[in-house]
Symmetry: C2
Subunit: 151 residues, 2 copies
């Protein structure tokens, strides 16, 4: 069954927050309560308003199986190259181990090429060794340290 | 002498490209020729058009001493948090070792707070050990691998 990709609608938001919360790291830092925490709604509206951000819903047979967020960023570096930043990649626990992640990245990389990006980049938590192996298998190189500072 | 920060103007562009090129990694991948490669001009225009990107020029006594690019990104993750991504941080070789980098990051972190960001993030090339120590000293944690895929 082929995967379908579309930009998220407001009606997807509860399912997306549930998907983010259903994760060993996400369940410590997300708020799975319904009605949704207002902050999710405001963030969703900001993402939709920004033409350089795309919150992508992945469906199989009309069932939401995954999500990812793509941000397109123009930089002077690398002779004025656009980059594609991928974050918030999640696959529903019922649908793992079927190669969906690889298909989702194939889609994201196609989007990056269609927008003229020269680099796709992402950071992966060092506590997620499976994810790190997955990205290496796709050809990503861990040439950089991924630094975070909580405010 | 206090540093001053402002968004880059088109008139800064030649100096900014020269600064990017005057660097052990940059001199392999930038195009320092003048008149400027058209790609720099197009990238600059795209940055200026995007209200979630700020290409910051750093000056001391009206002399350009550094630059950095700040991108503000809305995410659903972390209960709908905005993040601040910092890239393209450069200090002119004549002005290093004077604590300018720390002042520039203090400025960038203030900008991030004023935009409601919960996380500041950046990636640093593993070939730049001094930069890595600098970010650690500022309190950044290298919790993530920074993956890149060239298209």
């Amino acid at each position: 069954m082929e995967l379908k990709y579309r930009s998220a609608d407001f009606e997807d938001l509860e399912s997306l927050v549930a998907l983010l919360s259903n994760d060993p790291l996400g369940n410590k830092r997300e708020d799975a309560s319904v009605p949704l925490n207002r902050a999710y709604i405001e963030a969703f509206e900001a993402i939709v308003r920004d033409s350089n951000n795309d919150l992508v819903v992945v469906e199989q047979d009309n069932v939401l199986v995954g999500m990812l967020q793509i941000t397109f960023i123009p930089y002077l570096t690398h002779i004025g190259s656009w980059r594609c930043l991928i974050e918030g990649v999640r696959i529903h626990s019922d649908y793992r181990g079927q190669g969906f992640g690889e298909q989702m990245f194939t889609h994201a990389i196609e989007q990056a090429k269609s927008r003229g990006c020269k680099i796709v980049q992402l950071t992966s938590d060092k506590q997620r060794p499976d994810a790190i192996r997955f990205y290496e298998r796709l050809g990503f190189k861990a040439t950089h340290e991924g630094f975070k500072l909580a405010l």
